[in-house]
Structures are given as structure tokens and as C-alpha cells.
Subunit: 305 residues, 2 copies
């Protein structure tokens, strides 16, 4: 019990520390947190997200249990803040699809205005509304799972992994074990991939951005992955990667993208069930993976449509 | 009304910004502030104070309306933090005398421990106690004056200036005008001193630390001031300052020390009613001022014992 609270203490301090350069952000984020005053509710500061339209944004405060984002707006205008994808290529982000604050232009975070002409009472009023709203959300959510910092990358009991449920792991082996029955559990070191129990689907943990060996990309709607060796990398020079894949009939991927998480740690985020598009791959000369579904069954790893 | 709230907004942000490098401090200070949730209560972060024993300390959070200080203690031990006077020679500080948290060793701030073995619930519990205590203080204080940021250096209606009431000014002229009747009010530029209406006492606004011209000091119990020209300064070279004082019979001083305030602005802090100790001054060759009392009458400037 108290070990968890030590961890939460450290966690909270690290989250607040990230807001420290911007004063308004620190004021709003600490006020929301202290007035919610509920350690069962988790928050993250400066969480990147991707909108329905494929554009990136950043939430100053994000509540993963409710998929709720808050943006602290120092400008006078209600403009959307866009984040350049190149700047956050290796960073974790959440999909904003299906969020509570929907908007004609697509998904929008809750905006708290703090700029010059807004009075302190105005800011405090908006914060109060937000705090009450979040408390309400918790109350109304029959399936609410309290924030357990020792256990937050645990999905025990889940029968389905769904991209929209923000499935994230800290270690590859933890992800792999969800695709194993008890007798087959892995306790080995991390490796870059593993097969499902039926040996037909690969659990894949790629970097979906340009790195030393690979020039991978994922499309903005997250349904299409190009897996492309970098020219002069060993993959490019020594073998024809695509031929090998075709020969081994290794054409199904359950994808967990390797990313850098909010506090700087590596994370693996579930991206769905992908299948090789053979025709396109052959035409292009490298692997092109097409998402078939955002859901797979646990532990079999079968696609659910 | 709203102009004041804009000012409070800026003020709060500047105060919080000062806590930003230390995470625990930011957590505790913001939590106390947001849970008190009362804009009539003023606070200052990182306020220097002087203890009864003459030693300096720093309060991480200080509530001037209650003369209440809070120290956020990251160490395991209940040790007193001492501040080297040389480092804060030109800085404003409050006298801790008569504070609410008295202690066998002298005045002590309320201490909130946040170090390694304290859990989050432990910190939050201490903060809750402190918040309730402060709310109680306000409720019980029949003479409570709400924080008015436009007017906080105003002492309208006071018949006595007492060092223990933390009398502070932003401008010399404002201090001088408390020693004038309505017809004699000053609206001129700031000057380094002025006489009271009876022409017998000087309102004096010295730097009580070593500066270019003067090597002034105030004793740790604040009852004794040495006013000493720096060797080779114009005061030292051209005139005998002490002789001039004696000749003019300029032997009474109502002292406002010139200091740098918490947010970097110059302030003048009332230090009491001082009289020249002629015998000692002649022996030493420079002016030695002895405090006679901490209270003077307004507007006459007469000593009150």
C-alpha cells in the first residue's frame, strides 16, 4: 500500500516538474489535480495525441481513464495547436478517436483559456467546471478501474485487445505473455518478436519511424505500415527482406509500436492486426502491411472484426 | 474588481514560478494554495525571516496576515535551516518574533516533511491539517483584513506604526505622508529622508548593509544601527558626518530600511524609533543609533513605549 503511494508521489512530482517552465500550465494543472483530490484518477502532463484527421496535438493534461484531454490556451484565439510529426516521431501518442469532446472539426480537447483578458475568477471557474465534470465521469463510469501504479500496464482478464483501449506495455515479454496460456508463459529476455501459439501470426515490436536500420512509417490514419530497410543497412545489403517474409509465409503481424513514453521510458503501444499486402509489396519491393482490424482475441491473437 | 484579479493572477504565477525548481516545494505550495481556495488570503513564497536568536531562516511559504510560515523539509531530520546573512544582506525579511509557532528554541515555522520515507498520504495529511488551521485562523481573527493587492501597502486608519505589524512601503513618499496632516501632504519625488512635522525627528530610509558609500549594519536583535561611511567615499573624505549630525542636533531617527522585496522590487521596512548614542558615537567616531521603541504615533512620529 505505502510502496504504491511512494511511487505515486514520485510520479506526481515528475509530472508536475514538466509543467514548470510555463506558469499558467503549472497553475491550471496543479489546481485541477489538487481539487479533484483523488489518487484513483491518473493524469499525464503533455500527452501527444493524434486527431481523426491524422494531425498531431498535445494535451497539457490528459486523463487516460476517461480519454479526456485538457489544453491550456494562452492565446486569445480558439485555434488548434498542431504538432509537427517529425518532432515527435519516436514519441508515444494516444488516438483521439472516440473521445468525449467531439467537435465538427474532429476531436477536440477541453480548452481552458488563461490569456491576458481572462481574470483569475474566470480561470478558476473553468477549472471548477472541469473538476466537477471529471468527478462526474468517475461516478458514472461503472467500469472505472482505479489507478494502480504498480499494475498500470496490466490487462488481466481482458479477452480482447482493442487499440481504442490504449493497450501499452513496458516490456516486450509482458505483451508476449498475453498471447500465451499459463504453461507456455515466457520469462526470457526481451526479443524483437515472437509467434503466437498457433505459430501463424507474429507479435511484432517495430519502431514505426526512421531509425538506423529501417525507414518505417505508419500512415496518419494508422491503417498502413511501410517496412523499408534503410539503404546500406545490413537488412538492405545482405538480404532481400521481403523475399524472406514471403518465403517463410510470415504475413500476419500483431503490432506493438516501440515508442518513447511521456516520462522518457520505452513503451510498446498496441496498433492492431496487420496483414501483408502482397501485391503492393512486390510492386514497391518492400513490405507493406495493411491493418485488418483494431481488435484481437486474447490469448489466441485472432482478429475480431 | 477585475483589474485586481488580473493583478492577483500575475502575482500568483510569479510566486509559483519561484517554486518551480524544487518539485516538492511546488507540490506542497500549490496544494496548500488551491485547497485554502481563498483569494482574500495572501501568501509569499521563499520569505526570509529573522528568529528571536538573530539567526536568519527562509519560509517556503509565508502568510503575512497571520505571520505564519511553512517550511518544506526534504531531509529526514528536524534540523533548522540557517541562512547566511551575507547572502541576503540587501533582502527584505520579516521578524519572526511573536509568531504562532513558538518553540523552546525560539520561533519555528510549521514544518511539512516530504522526504523519502514520507508517503503521499502522509504529506497530504499534513497539508490538510495546515489548510484547516489557516482557515480557522481567518475565521477566528475578528480584525482580519482581506488581501487587497491594489492597496497592500496602505495602513489607513492606523494610529500607531509597530515593527511587529510588518509595516512596509514601496515608495519613500508614501511613508513620509503618514507623518503629515492632510494639508502638508507631499507629492514630490522620493528623497532619502524628511523631517517630521515638528522638525525634530528625521524619517530615515537607509540601506542597512554595506554599499558603495556606507558600511552600515543593524544588530541581530535589530536594536542597534552603526552608520559608518566607507573609507574613501565622499562622506568619509569631505566631511565628518558625525560632527554634522551633532551640530544640527539631528539625533532622532524613525527608520525604514531600504531592502529588495520578495519579487525583486525595492521596499522600505519600518524598523522603529532610534536615538543617537552620543557617547558611543564620539568614542567610535561614527553614528551609533539605539532603538528606543518599536512603536511610533501617527502622524506625529512620537515614540510609544
Amino acid at each position: 500500500m505505502s510502496a504504491k503511494l511512494y511511487k505515486k508521489k514520485e510520479y506526481l512530482l515528475r509530472q508536475f516538474a514538466r509543467t514548470n517552465k510555463k506558469n499558467y500550465e503549472n497553475y491550471v494543472v496543479t489546481r485541477i489535480f489538487h481539487l479533484i483530490n483523488d489518487l484513483e484518477i491518473k493524469f499525464v502532463t503533455q500527452q501527444y495525441f493524434k486527431r481523426d484527421n491524422g494531425k498531431f496535438g498535445m494535451a497539457d493534461m490528459y486523463f487516460p481513464q476517461f480519454n479526456l484531454s485538457i489544453e491550456i490556451d494562452e492565446s486569445q484565439h480558439d485555434s488548434e495547436r498542431h504538432i509537427d510529426q517529425d518532432k515527435i516521431r519516436d514519441r508515444d501518442y494516444v488516438s483521439a478517436t472516440g473521445d468525449l469532446f467531439s467537435h465538427p472539426q474532429g476531436w477536440m480537447p477541453k480548452r481552458i483559456r488563461v490569456g491576458g483578458d481572462i481574470s483569475l475568477l474566470g480561470i478558476d471557474y473553468e477549472i471548477e467546471q472541469t473538476v466537477n465534470y471529471i468527478k462526474e465521469l468517475k461516478k458514472k463510469d461503472a467500469g472505472f478501474i482505479p489507478w494502480n501504479i504498480d499494475n498500470e500496464f496490466s490487462y488481466k482478464g481482458l479477452k480482447i485487445f482493442d487499440v481504442h483501449n490504449q493497450i501499452v506495455f513496458k516490456k516486450i515479454v509482458d505483451a508476449i505473455n498475453y498471447f500465451r496460456t499459463e504453461e507456455l508463459k515466457y520469462d526470457g529476455y526481451q526479443k524483437a518478436g515472437a509467434m503466437t501459439m498457433d505459430k501463424k501470426k507474429k507479435l511484432w515490436f517495430p519502431k514505426l519511424f526512421k531509425n538506423k536500420d529501417w525507414s518505417n512509417t505508419i500512415s496518419s490514419d494508422e491503417t498502413f505500415i511501410e517496412e523499408k530497410p534503410v539503404q546500406n543497412s545490413k537488412w538492405f545489403a545482405n538480404t532481400n527482406h521481403l523475399e524472406k517474409i514471403l518465403k517463410k509465409n510470415d504475413k500476419i503481424r500483431i503490432v506493438f509500436a516501440k515508442v518513447k513514453g511521456n516520462l522518457g521510458f520505452v513503451l510498446y503501444r498496441f496498433k492492431g492486426y496487420f496483414v501483408l499486402n502482397e501485391e503492393l509489396s512486390k510492386k514497391k519491393g518492400y513490405c507493406c502491411w495493411q491493418r485488418k482490424t483494431t481488435k484481437v482475441s486474447i490469448p489466441e491473437g485472432n482478429p475480431i472484426y
